[in-house]
Symmetry: C2
Subunit: 114 residues, 2 copies
């Protein structure tokens, strides 16, 4: 990415390149709200996401230290995902994004005094 050379002065670019892809923010948000989630639960909640997409993004988030993956050696398999400490530092942003979305999906009608 050669980040420092070109964007050393642009921290926001760093943030969004770390959490790129429309699913990552949603994944982080789900994990923030639910604390711990198994793979299929996450997958259900994010329909219509593809397995490949979900597992890739989870892997990247894990590699970036934002998500923790806990694997239990059972059959059938069991894997739990949760936010790391570092991932939790994003929760204020997640909250604000969610609130912004809420206000813009259902714009509050202007108050009129008929």
């Amino acid at each position: 990415m050669d980040f420092d050379a070109k964007f050393g002065n642009c921290p926001i670019y760093y943030t969004i390149s770390k959490i790129e892809g429309k699913w990552k923010w949603v994944i982080l948000y789900k994990l923030y709200k639910c604390k711990v989630m198994r793979y299929n639960r996450l997958w259900d909640d994010l329909q219509p996401i593809a397995h490949r997409t979900l597992s890739k993004q989870l892997k990247e988030l894990e590699a970036d230290g934002l998500v923790h993956r806990e694997q239990y050696n059972e059959v059938p398999p069991k894997v739990e995902y949760s936010l790391t400490k570092d991932g939790e530092t994003l929760t204020p942003i997640l909250d604000m994004m969610s609130q912004w979305g809420e206000r813009h999906i259902n714009p509050r009608p202007e108050v009129s005094n008929d």
Copy 2:
């Protein structure tokens, strides 16, 4: 996008699909900090962005009501970009993203008492 059908309950997904693309957040941030910017100034600051990319993203941001475009009918042309009122509602998120990036680009070393 058929947003409502699938994501009516996920406001954060709405937010990030509205501001998708790694450049949009940076563009918004630049406009927030500089108030008003002409096209080439923005382009310089965002190197290595391509004209096509920048002008497309600006157009989308304008269509989404987040950026205002003021065109002066002069030769050579002059166009100024700035945030709309609605775009300004994003500034708290922009600030937090930027701060998060700052902390993670240059992680503050642990304080030790040698």
